[in-house]
Symmetry: C2
Subunit: 426 residues, 2 copies
């Protein structure tokens, strides 16, 4: 959340644009003086994706924050990039619809940032990530040209899918200034949320697989490991960790009593303990808050790095076990939670507050975890993107031909390498 | 389904490749002698997307038709391009999963072709089109390089989304030789299908909107206009058209009794007549067959052009009315059906069998319908792609900057314009 600089020096200026003409103006100056342009909205990237660069221009679309349209009839919204995710969702709910992608940063991250990172969230397991919910984009390219990609239709088979090329491009290919997103109808039927505790993460993973395969189409399957439960206990003054090595937070939307019973039966079959299920909205809000409290609970009084890998579903449990082993071997405390329903894992590695440098053991743990992820067929970025934190991993993650192809595309669209340089692909 | 030629002359050869090395070999010859390469599997394109070109090489991956893997644990399949959609679906169902995209050509079109056109289908309204179900691709580029795009994870935020660039590219950017697709668990709960009849299409469209918005998440909402019902009556010896101007075929999967009741109540509210609902599998298969019979019923004994536009949801009814008006004004018989749940319309324009040339009035009707589609914010290709049938519409459909950008990408990936030339973008 450092708006101006990244330690390599302060940006030359922060320009808060308010129109397409403003964006084109900034790019014109950048081309003339060969200045890096760093697109930014709420500056909440977790991978150093939008911090300033020495001598560069921060192009902030934070003030382009209008919801331009919510169309109930077309089930979509048109927004400017600075609109906060949660604000759009609330506005949609007033019309009986909702905006599905729900990153942990939902209360404060912007749709523009979500698009640029292809943000996921807890309910990606049912509704997909940001890319699955974007219908169209308006973009200013590095040369100042405006392009309109996609549109207002749910089906589209005309041109190349350039919309998806810009989703997740982290501002390296153009400046997004308008976004059309799908809105979903609120599912009919009972919504329930619940908690369940398992002996360990392997057992939890088996339960999660069984629930997925049962065809109940859950909206949320969140896993927290023993360390994380311990941190939450401290923070919430609870005693969950006394009896469990793994916690599952689950949600079913628009479900029938029969489906809810199947879920309960599966939890029992996989030896879940202290299962709580509630259809009460306030109690559900408390459970979501419990999941959100995980981060402050884990971060409290410690330096930390939170990571983000996605695995093939069957590799979630082996990965969880491996992370625990690495922590043990290297003497690094690691808290692991994840969106178990789609194989997305977030280990948080911590070290003492009074130690400003990242310890060697933490870096080594990360290195081992990333290599293991790739070995298991996973990706080292599931929903947080690349930024400056992971671009040195381009070659093992992508094959060399793909790395080369990415640079060919980047050079085509931004031949002066003005847009968010040293991020994502470089 | 003309494998060899398109009327401009026969292709020089049809090469049935069986390996990546074969594909690379064909491309090497093509580069050396500057020969067009036409990728083809089952050759069932509806937009002249894979017919031969005089002097070119047809690169057929029809014999690369192995299901390489069905992974229940990872909920995915890995297939070669020649695998037929329906065969993959059947194989998945044996493991309690299914492959969701279901184009009308499901029994005979290939996954490779479905990927190249971003094929949709009846249940796209719930499960998305092909692009929403592809996790990864392996592709040989025009220069012979192999690239591996995407992979086996459900979330992915590392590189540019090149997978989606190749889905729907109609073989103009590379030759796809391996495809990883999502498989979905079979929804738990009751599956019902049914029929309902409405006074007219406008009334049907209102009912469809209400059903969508109710949150029951239907799997199918198929609309057939009066002309189509009449053709079906002739074909099936039924008398549906006597009492109705519009027919709706619907499906709910994994639903509760409560949801089914809501659906019935909405149908009643919008004056649906003769509503039939069945949970019986055989009767459901008959309803799907009825929908599938629509095409032979309409085509019977006539020359025809079937079109494919997608509209913003609210514009479906106005578009249906406009099509009817155009048919009336120009004296052209038009049968219109569509995937009403996602705004996708298929008008079929017919003329006498003894008249080989497309009549001027038919061409004029199409021209008017396409312009109206664009005026209403739609696309003139929802799920059939562009081929040689619609590439002359690139400029009104896409803005000129996007048209130019498409050519920049094409030139980057295929600088000699070898891959499926004169299609899609040219």
């Amino acid at each position: 959340m450092r708006r101006g600089g990244d330690g390599s020096g302060l940006a030359r200026a922060v320009v808060e644009v308010q129109s397409v003409a403003d964006i084109q103006g900034v790019l014109k100056v950048a081309r003339k003086y060969h200045l890096p342009v760093i697109p930014q909205t709420t500056a909440t990237s977790t991978v150093i994706g939008s911090d300033g660069i020495a001598g560069g221009l921060i192009l902030s679309t934070r003030k382009m924050a209008q919801i331009l349209e919510i169309s109930k009839d077309d089930s979509l919204a048109v927004v400017q990039p600075g609109v906060v995710n949660g604000d759009l969702d609330q506005a949609a709910r007033k019309q009986g619809l909702f905006y599905a992608p729900d990153p942990a940063s939902k209360p404060f991250s912007s749709i523009g940032g979500n698009v640029s990172t292809n943000a996921g969230g807890m309910s990606t397991v049912r509704y997909g990530a940001t890319k699955d919910n974007v219908l169209g984009l308006k973009v200013v390219l590095a040369d100042g040209r405006k392009v309109t990609l996609g549109g207002r239709t749910l089906k589209q088979a005309f041109g190349y899918d350039l919309t998806q090329l810009f989703v997740g491009a982290e501002g390296t290919l153009g400046i997004v200034y308008e976004i059309t997103v799908k809105l979903m109808p609120i599912p009919l039927g009972t919504s329930i949320m619940g908690l369940a505790f398992f002996k360990d993460m392997a057992q939890l993973a088996q339960g999660v697989t069984a629930i997925r395969m049962s065809g109940v189409y859950p909206t949320m399957l969140e896993a927290l490991d023993g360390n994380t439960i311990g941190a939450l206990d401290k923070y919430e003054k609870t005693h969950y960790a006394d009896k469990s090595g793994a916690m599952l937070i689950f949600r079913l939307d628009g479900s029938s009593d029969a489906n809810i019973q199947v879920l309960k039966d599966l939890l029992a079959k996989y030896d879940a303990q202290d299962v709580q299920v509630t259809a009460d909205e306030d109690e559900q809000a408390q459970l979501i808050q419990l999941r959100r409290d995980m981060l402050p609970a884990v971060f409290a009084g410690q330096n930390h790095l939170m990571e983000d890998m996605a695995l093939p579903l069957s590799q979630l449990a082996p990965m969880m076990a491996y992370i625990q082993q690495v922590g043990h071997d290297l003497g690094v405390t690691i808290y692991t939670a994840g969106h178990a329903g789609d194989g997305n894992v977030h280990p948080t590695l911590v070290w003492p507050k009074d130690q400003p440098e990242v310890p060697g053991a933490v870096l080594e743990a990360l290195r081992r975890i990333f290599w293991k992820t790739l070995e298991l067929g996973g990706t080292i970025s599931g929903e947080h993107a690349v930024g400056m934190m992971k671009n040195q991993w381009n070659q093992p993650e992508l094959d060399d031909n793909v790395d080369y192809l990415q640079h060919q595309l980047k050079t085509l669209l931004d031949p002066m390498n003005l847009l968010n340089p040293k991020r994502k692909i470089n």
